[in-house]
Amino acid sequence: MSEGGTPGTRQTSGGPEKERIPFWQRVCDNHFLLLFIGVTMPTVLYILWGVMELVGIPVAPQ
């Protein structure tokens, strides 16, 4: 997240130059991105994939 105006950078305490914030720190600081990933991954990989498997089971003849 931006702290110094430009995304991914922040103002250093010593002067005007800007320190680049590492990618993973920016990911960790973006709480709503984490919320999106944390809900989407299990929804797709556990629930949707699992539901597709169950829906694919052929119905037994009456």
Partner: protein, 566 residues
Amino acid sequence: MAATTQFRTCPTTGLKIDLAAQSLIKANAVAAVVFLAIGGLFGLSIALTRWPEIHLLPVDWFYMALTAHGLDVLLCWIIFFEVAVLYFASAVLLNCRLAAPRTAWVAFVLMVVGAALTNVTVLQGESSVMFTSYTPLRAAPNFYLGLIIFAVGALVACGNFFGTLVIAKEERTYEGSVPLVTFGALTAAIIAVFTLASGAVILIPTWLWSLGYINHIDPVMYKLVWWAMGHSSQQINVSAHVAVWYAVAAILLGAKPLSEKASRLAFLLYIFFLQLASAHHLLVEPGISSEWKIFNTSYAMYLAVLGSMIHALTVPGTIEAAQRKLGFNKGMFEWLRKAPWGNPAFSGVFLSLVMFGFLGGISGVVLGTEQINLIMHNTLYVPGHFHATVVTGTTLTFMAVTYLILPLILQRDVMFPRMAQWQPYVFGLGAAGISLFMMGAGTLGVPRRHWDVTFADSPFGFEFPSAAFMMLALNGLSAILAATGGLMYVVNVVASVFFGKKTADKPMKVAVPVSTSGQPAAVGAYGSAGSLNIPGTITLVTIFFVSFVLYYYVNWKYLAEVWPLR
């Protein structure tokens, strides 16, 4: 809203505390303790029924108690307490006001109403469907309705947590990244959103089915979606109690994380992968492919286990680094010998750390492996495992941190300090016994959820080895010990909250007082310890890892004997 918010400054940590958040933490923590007391009593009655010599409850009471026990301790106690942790980790640690205190009170009321409605419905005797409530078992409609109301309340509370993070960022109450404890709580809140949404997805149609508006709920479909709630709710616990481990070390010892990067990576692995471990409940289910089972358990779950392994190194490492900084440098273990073992917050957390890893963590990986899961599936081993994670892990941790919440947040002295000193040991020993002996009985084949394992009135009898009955008796004795520890906790907390001496502005005794260090409290700050001199922790982690590998392969050997290839 911001202009009317009232704060006080904590004399121990120097943190600014929103008084509205403080009241909500108190309300949620007290509600949690009430449900722990009720659920614990049901738990004791179940353990005494499983002990064949006592066999306390008649069959219908047994299943009613089993249902109520699961609900009260796995959902109510834990989630009420976790909401308190969320408010603490957001409003308190970020020196910020709570986003919407009135909405937070609405959430609290919804949770209380939902929990009470489900409890009353269960006690009416028509809803003994156990915690899992697998269809086609049908409970009374209010059973599901109560759970839905509770889940909505908890979701609103999570919304308040996220709202508070936004306000803290906008009002610049912290610089850079949030403290590690808040990041751990964020992990718990993210998992909670998925958990509660999954609960709503499955419980709303099941409620309509119980009312007669829907004809059929597919049992396997129910099981699949229900476990997205049922197991993930226990992953909220793991994230929350690991965050509390870091918090207690920081408050008591001034401990900074060994490595912010490593600990955050571990929480990140939880966010990405931990919830997929729900799949291990469906490992023997026909109709679901091995690809789905193996991907979700043996690949994704192991990445979450990697996160736990990182915490297993960094939490004791954080404590060791802090103790060495305080001068406990002699030999490999002076830091551990001279740790504050008489402080129930520390002893509870450390016992929980060790037992969660050795008992809960290792058995969890064994249960999550498709092949060796076959030996223990649906046996008492399963409740043995989750008593190790939820009771020796989460419950003991939450009990421990209560001894800090009382003076720091509720501003009350612990009323019976001597009892508090003993309590984590009594409860921890009892809970460890429950876990071990249930896992022992399960390894010998004793089924879970069974009222009478002697099969006295069954036309098809089966005789378990006598060691299994000894395990059940030891489980009963351990439950008595754990219930004693639980009672010590409840009595002390209730007495302290209502009759304890007010602490006024007296700071609590900690290793690094904020007033003299001139630094912000470690619990609310960002930054690593800056030391990797942790030989004691490396030794302990090596012992853990060797035990892990040995036990894992012993189970493969056991599988080979159960199911010989000729």
